[in-house]
């Protein structure tokens, strides 16, 4: 006889535990459990059959994997929690008794929980860590913009945490600038989205996207539990700092980069960090130790490849040089003094090290990243230097902020980013004979997204900007035909306007001057009244000979060229409409009939699935159609306005 299966001893009943059971098993409080879950990345599961998992009860419960909880049982963090609990008790007792010395001693020996092992455990490889970097970066960016003075009853975020967050994001940005890894940029209503490409394990590029809110005081709602956010932040800070360490060391930089206090106090964000090349003590030592061996090897090789040996020798020398001047500044900063400005102008990058760095980068990253390398930008004071300094630097451009020079008075300036209306006279006055390109910030974002310098036409201060599109909105989004057309829209619109002007001049006769509605009706009526050649041409617009014939015909009939073109356009439009409706109706009529019949033979399951799919497709199509309809309506309205 087969072994008797007893209820609740295998399957879902065994695999899942409810939260309360987990608490009981782990013997911790709910808040500790929450912390543990957040830090360890344990989340509830949805059993296929809740009743079976809950041993027959259908009461609402949160289920965890039994194994997950089992795995929490021997978590070193759990021990730390308990230690901390004991410590808190001891401290409270010491304070209550007024034993200050003891309290001080206790405080000094306070148990500190470290999350290093969790980072490694949750992200076994660097690539995995990078893939999950979106949430950490988002949260750290958010916290860096929280008010530093805690709002009583709302936030209890220590200012040190906020400071650390802003340090982390600055370091992250410094790294992105150094490696020119910014790829995409999107100005949204929630804030600015950035996307970087970060090399993961084995050089595999991972796309990391994050959102940075606009520089405003954050609204802190009352129902946000900051304890949860801070727990997440603990982990995320650790993760980001380890990630940065890895990234910096791969760039052969010292992490954490030293902060230039002076610059920091002046209000620089990204620029306040000095990037320091690693002394590479170990490397030097080892080279010293093995110098003889190396030389021997070189001698051995010399016969075959002399050049290589030279390079190696050079490198050795370099290492020594580096030890001499290790505090070289990578970031080139124009300061107030004229000399230095000149220096900047003449030498684009100050030091040998940074030169090396850029060359090495150039090898790894293609030229397109250095989109703005030939340009120097002046940031007007109302633009956010936090954003644009980072973006332009990351794309290889040079920056002069209003911070360093309140008036743009530099010869090297090529572009001025300005976000306020300004008169042309004032612009010319400021240019003072130099040729600057005046642009709104969106131009920079659009350039970055298209990976090319686009014309500044339409981006000048005070102009109505072309729409800003998301670089992630599908591949076809950016080159949707009508959006491409939007570029040429101005030109065509101008042409049309010209045409219509002609029309107005030529055909003063009131017959044509009717209301738009009448016109439309007339269009339809006229559809059948086109001359034959024009009709033929409209049916086949690409055929040049037909077009020619139609033109001849029009000439014969004494129709003006512009009128003919209008007619032709209308005819083509009408034809297209006809054709499309015909096709649609025919297709729908025939196809739907067939489908209907074959669908009879579908199984119930498949029929339901089919219906679902059709529904979602219809929804999508409807959305698309809605957009298209709105667009056409807007275009029409605009045209009308233009005509009026």
């Amino acid at each position: 006889m087969a072994k008797i299966k007893r209820k609740g001893e295998s399957g879902a009943a065994k695999n899942y535990v409810t939260r309360n059971q987990a608490l009981k098993k782990l013997q911790i409080s709910l808040s500790d459990f929450r912390r543990l879950c957040i830090l360890k990345g344990i989340y509830p599961r949805e059993p296929l059959n809740k009743k079976r998992a809950n041993k027959g009860s259908s009461a609402p419960a949160t289920f965890y994997y039994h194994k997950d909880i089992q795995y929490l049982l021997h978590e070193p963090l759990l021990v730390k929690f308990r230690e901390h609990k004991a410590f808190a008790k001891k401290l409270a007792r010491a304070l209550g008794r007024g034993e200050w010395a003891l309290a001080k001693n206790l405080e000094e020996a306070k148990p500190v929980a470290r999350l290093d092992h969790l980072v490694k455990e949750r992200y076994p490889t660097f690539t995995l860590a990078l893939q999950d970097l979106q949430d950490p970066l988002n949260l750290v960016h958010l916290f860096s913009t929280l008010p530093t003075n805690p709002i009583p009853g709302k936030t209890l975020v220590p200012s040190s945490v906020i400071a650390e967050c802003s340090r982390l994001i600055s370091e992250w940005k410094v790294w992105a600038i150094r490696t020119n890894s910014l790829r995409k940029l999107f100005l949204g209503v929630k804030g600015i989205y950035y996307e970087c490409e970060v090399p993961g394990q084995g050089g595999e590029l991972v796309k990391v996207r994050w959102l940075e809110g606009y520089e405003f005081q954050q609204h802190v709602p009352t129902d946000v539990d900051f304890r949860i956010l801070l727990t997440f932040l603990d982990l995320y800070r650790t993760l980001i700092s380890f990630t940065l360490f890895k990234l910096y060391t791969e760039e052969n930089l010292v992490y954490p980069p030293p902060l230039d206090v002076e610059l920091d106090e002046r209000g620089e964000s990204v620029g306040a960090f000095r990037l320091v090349e690693k002394k590479d003590n170990q490397g030097v030592e080892s080279s010293k130790v093995s110098k003889k061996a190396v030389r021997k090897a070189i001698k051995g090789i010399k016969a075959s490849t002399g050049g290589d040996a030279d390079v190696e020798m050079d490198e050795d020398d370099n290492a020594e040089e580096e030890t001499n001047e290790n505090d070289e500044e990578f970031v080139e900063r124009p300061t107030k003094s004229g000399e230095e400005v000149e220096d900047v102008a003449t030498a684009p990058l100050t030091t040998y090290n940074s030169l090396l760095a850029t060359t090495s980068n150039a090898a790894s990253t293609s030229k397109q990243n250095l989109l703005f390398s030939p340009y120097t930008f002046y940031l007007s004071r109302e633009t956010s230097s936090r954003t644009w300094e980072f973006v332009i630097r990351a794309m290889g451009g040079k920056i002069i902020t209003s911070l360093s020079s309140p008036q743009p008075s530099d010869d090297s300036i090529t572009h001025v980013i300005i976000d306020r209306p300004i008169t042309v006279e004032r612009m010319r006055e400021m240019e003072n004979g130099r040729k600057w390109t005046w642009i709104q910030p969106q131009w920079v974002a659009d350039c970055v997204n298209r990976q090319k310098i686009i014309s500044s036409e339409g981006y000048h201060p005070g102009q109505l900007l072309p729409p800003h599109l998301s670089p992630w909105d599908g591949e076809g989004e950016l080159d949707r035909p009508w959006l491409e057309d939007a570029q040429n829209a101005a030109i065509t619109a101008a042409q049309e306007e010209a045409d219509q002007e002609e029309d107005v001049i030529e055909q003063d006769a009131p017959a044509e001057e009717e209301s738009d509605e009448d016109e439309e009706i007339a269009e339809k009526e006229e559809a059948g009244k086109y001359p034959p050649a024009l009709l033929a041409s409209s049916l086949d617009p690409e055929n040049v000979s037909l077009l020619h014939a139609a033109e001849l015909e029009a000439e014969q009939n004494g129709v003006s060229h512009s009128a003919f073109r209008n007619q032709l356009k209308e005819a083509i439009k009408a034809n297209k409409k006809d054709a499309s409706t015909k096709v649609a109706s025919a297709g729908a009529g025939k196809k739907s009939g067939e489908e209907d019949l074959r669908k009879i033979m579908m199984s119930n399951k498949k029929a339901k699935l089919y219906e679902k799919m059709q529904y979602s497709n219809r929804e999508k199509a409807a959305e698309k159609e809605n957009l298209e309809r709105k667009r056409l309506a807007i275009e029409k309205r605009k045209r009308k306005e233009a005509r009026a």
């Binding site: 957040i38 509830p44 599961r45 709602p221 940065l244 709104q440 800003h468 992630w472 807007i634």
Partner: protein, 845 residues
């Protein structure tokens, strides 16, 4: 413990007295000895009590220390006690006579029987020992002599041993054992070594219960039912194997007399083992009394005895500590070594080698934790990383194309919708310039919600089907390839006043169409041109159903009206030969019976008496009405057997006569079912076998008419079967149901439908197979007729191919009823359908 001790000591005392008596009695037999002992028990008990009260030993016996503290003289008796035992043993060795040995053995036995040695026993032994010593002072080989023989060393060692034993230890329950362990055995002159001594240890006797059963029962038969000895002169055996004879027992009168005479009779009890009454002692009576009163049986037991303060209270203060050892020096002198160690540390601190309170060399805050050789070993197979937030769409732009902005209506919708139902969590907005973009209010909230999602939301894997929905539609041959099938209406047969046409049937030669409408008229139409060529008014209400006989050499039509089956034939329309055939077939039975009525041939069949085959009037016969069959209820369906002689009718309101099988040639009627399995909807004959299908509301039963057995029951899975048809080959069956379903049964495959199709929007009224072509059609109340192609393969392994071909629309739906009946034109892919709109349509290919 106390009562037990008491009894034990009393028995002990008794036994000791017995042994004394035995000694005095000399060679008295054991049995007499026992009796004597029993006799003296009372006395000894008295003694015991006295003894107990005098020495207060029993009460004290619980506490050994107390005993020790109290009787100091006893301590002096210790050596004597030892020597006494030796005496006894020495005597045993010396004494050669058996009696002495016996006595000793007895004595031993007694002492062995005392279980749980405790102080009272030992006390008793002291007493005994003393007495013994007094009595047996005379024997020469006294232990004292051996005492004297011992060397002074021996003596000294004995003394030391004695004194080294703490009094409480030596008096413990296992005093003997402890003594034995300590090597305090008897010194016995060795037999092997001349003049030597050997130490002999006392046997340790396991204490069995001191129950009387072991000590003084003369009958040794044990605990057996004594009635086994009822037939014997004796009642058992004594220790020596001699029979114990049954004591003389008087008859009942004697007993009664003795009971009345003897005032103590009521305090005696029957000893079963000895088969005599035994007088209970006062003590035993007392015990019984106490037990009756639910008291402790021991009279001496005092549950409320006063606490005796041995160590506390006045006069009992102990000045001595438990251990007299002086306090060790290390308790109050600082440790030298510790001092040295401390000084070492102090020196190190002074020299700066140790820095106190130095922060421990902690791990660096960041270090390299990832290397190139890392392996992504995910914790387990069910590991699911959190889904990433989707990238922002253009609609989120600060400057989106205008069409993305919501118009007023959409904006209102957005505001009214619940937070979860909104398509976007923000209102799309367009700003002319970046500096005009305000801060986003919900950023903290959104991040918080994301965090909550990360740790609170259950994660499940959902497989997204990435397939073309069209691929779900089965691949079937195009209808074009399966032509011919009916496509369009070619002829319409219109009925006057648009009366509902319930039934339609085409003649087997494919020339005529018969229709039965609700005005009670059966009409015959020319199939080709739609001209009405014949009609019968049956005057029996609506024509329920009609059907042409499938037999081609005759032209017979059966129409059903309420309570009547009419056998008709449009004789003028058919060829004379056929007409003659028809008439002879129908009228032979009349000729033989020569009566106008005929009761069913099977007279033995009950319940068919009410069925009459009636010959219509002459005028009617001329019009082509051949026979009337009067039946109970309203017949609703007629089904022909393929040979055209038998036909079956169904009248659902005729209880057990709802299904009838009629034979035309004999004018006989049978009711094949005594009891029906339910309300019969439709019946049909098998085209080749003598099988008969009966459809009830949910089931179809197949009967073998030849053997009159049920072959199988088909489970339709529909709620109410409306129509039924059998494929001309006889192995497939379709049913239509009022719950919009059509089910196809493959009779070789299963009792359940091979396919259930649901494509009509209203109830199905009729399903029909084409008699020759691979086609079938279904008609429904939604006014449509669906044409299907069905190929049934010879290969049994291949499922039938069903292809929907065409939907025929044309009938109007009136009063919620659409197409009522269908009939295929034999040999042609043409279909005739009748509708509730009073039209019959011919559909041609």
């Amino acid at each position: 413990m106390a009562p037990r001790n008491a009894t034990a000591s009393s028995s002990r005392a008794a036994s000791s007295s017995v042994s004394r008596l035995a000694k005095t009695n000399g060679n008295a037999g054991p049995s007499t000895l026992k009796n004597k002992k029993r006799a003296v028990q009372e006395v000894s008990e008295d003694e015991d009590e006295e003894f107990g009260s005098a020495g207060s030993g029993i009460d004290m016996s619980e506490d050994e220390d107390g005993e020790e503290g109290e009787d100091d003289e006893e301590e002096e008796a210790f050596p004597e006690f030892d020597s006494e035992i030796e005496d006894g043993d020495a005597e045993e060795e010396d004494g050669d006579d058996e009696t002495g040995l016996d006595e000793e053995e007895l004595d031993d036995e007694e002492s062995g029987s005392e279980s749980g040695y405790n102080s009272s026993d030992i006390e008793a032994m002291y007493a005994e020992g003393d007495e013994d010593e007094e009595e047996e002072y005379s024997p020469i080989t006294s232990p004292s002599s051996s005492h004297k023989d011992l060397s002074t060393d021996e003596k000294l060692s004995k003394l030391i041993a004695k004194n080294s034993i703490k009094p409480d230890e030596s008096l413990g329950t296992d005093a003997k054992i402890s003594r034995a362990k300590e090597g305090v055995g008897r010194l016995v002159p060795s037999k092997l070594v001349e003049g030597g001594y050997k130490r002999e240890y006392e046997d340790y006797e396991a204490g069995y219960g001191s129950e009387s059963s072991t000590e003084d029962n003369p009958n040794t038969v044990g605990n057996i039912p004594m009635e086994w000895y009822d037939d014997m002169p004796h009642i058992g055996y004594d220790v020596n194997g001699r029979k114990i004879f049954r004591p003389a027992q008087g008859d009942e009168l004697d007993k009664f007399l003795s009971n009345t005479e003897d005032p103590a009779a009521w305090t005696s009890a029957e000893d079963k083992l000895l088969q005599q009454s035994v007088q209970l002692s006062d003590k035993e009576l007392d015990i019984i009394r106490r037990l009756e009163r639910a008291e402790n049986p021991d009279a001496d037991y005092d549950p409320y005895q006063p606490t005796i303060e041995w160590f506390t209270g006045e006069g009992n203060e102990r000045v001595m500590p438990l251990s007299a050892a002086p306090e060790p020096k290390r308790r109050f002198v600082p440790s030298k070594w510790e001092h040295k160690k401390i000084m070492k540390i102090v020196k190190a601190i002074r020299e700066g080698r140790i820095i106190p309170n130095k922060p421990s060399a902690a791990k660096p805050t960041v270090y390299s934790i990832w290397s190139e050789s890392d392996q992504a070993n995910l914790s387990h197979a069910m590991y699911m990383p959190a889904p990433q937030l989707p990238p922002p769409k253009t609609i989120e732009s600060y400057n989106p194309p205008e069409e993305y902005l919501l118009n007023e209506e959409e904006q209102k919708q957005w505001e009214e919708a619940d937070k979860e139902d909104r398509k976007t969590d923000f209102l799309p907005a367009k700003y002319d310039s970046l500096r005009l973009v305000p801060g986003y209010k919900n950023l903290v909230q959104e991040r918080f919600e994301r965090c909550l999602d990360l740790y609170l939301a259950p994660r499940t894997r959902k497989v997204k089907l990435n397939i073309d929905p069209e691929s779900l539609i089965p691949k079937l041959p195009a209808p074009k390839e399966l032509k011919p099938f009916p496509i369009s209406t070619s002829v319409v047969y219109r009925h006057p006043e648009s009366s509902r046409v319930r039934s339609v049937s085409t003649s087997p030669d494919g020339l005529w169409v018969a229709t039965g409408s609700e005005d009670g008229i059966v009409r015959v139409w020319d199939l080709g041109n739609g001209r009405e060529v014949w009609k019968w008014n049956l005057k029996g209400g609506a024509i329920q159903h009609l059907s042409f006989s499938p037999y081609k050499d005759e032209c017979l039509l059966i129409a059903l009206v309420s309570g009547k089956i009419a056998v008709l034939s449009p004789l003028a329309l058919v060829a004379p030969a056929i007409a003659a055939n028809t008439l002879t077939h129908v009228n032979t039975a009349f000729a033989t019976s020569a009566a106008t009525t005929k009761i069913g041939a099977g007279k033995e069949i009950k319940g068919v008496e009410s069925i009459k085959w009636v010959r219509p009037s002459e005028s009617e016969r001329e019009r082509g009405v051949l026979v009337y069959v009067e039946v109970p209820g309203t017949p609703k369906q007629v089904s022909w057997h393929r040979k055209g002689d038998y036909f079956a009718t169904v009248a659902s309101d005729a209880s057990n006569k709802s299904v009838l099988i009629h034979q035309l040639s004999k004018h006989s009627t049978q009711s094949p079912f005594k009891k029906l399995p339910g309300q019969v909807q439709k019946v049909i004959f098998h085209p080749s076998k003598p099988h008969f299908f009966v459809a009830t509301q949910r089931y179809i039963r197949q009967y073998d008419l030849a053997t009159q057995t049920l072959v199988r029951t088909l489970q339709s899975g529909v709620k109410w079967i409306s129509s039924l048809d059998l494929h001309p080959r006889g192995d497939n069956l379709i049913i239509g149901s009022y719950d919009k379903k059509l089910a196809w049964f493959d009779l070789d495959l299963s009792n359940k439908p091979y396919k259930t199709l649901r494509y009509h929007t209203k109830a199905l009224r009729s399903v029909v197979y084409h008699p020759t072509l691979p086609l079938f059609a279904s008609a429904s109340d939604d006014g449509t007729i669906h044409i299907f192609h069905c190929t049934i393969y010879q290969d049994l392994m291949q499922n039938p191919l069903i292809v929907p071909l065409k939907i025929l629309r044309g009938h109007k739906v009136t009063d919620g009823i659409g197409v009522l009946d269908l009939s295929w034109v034999s040999g042609k892919p043409w279909l005739v359908s009748s509708g509730s709109d009073g039209e019959v349509r011919l559909w041609c290919s």
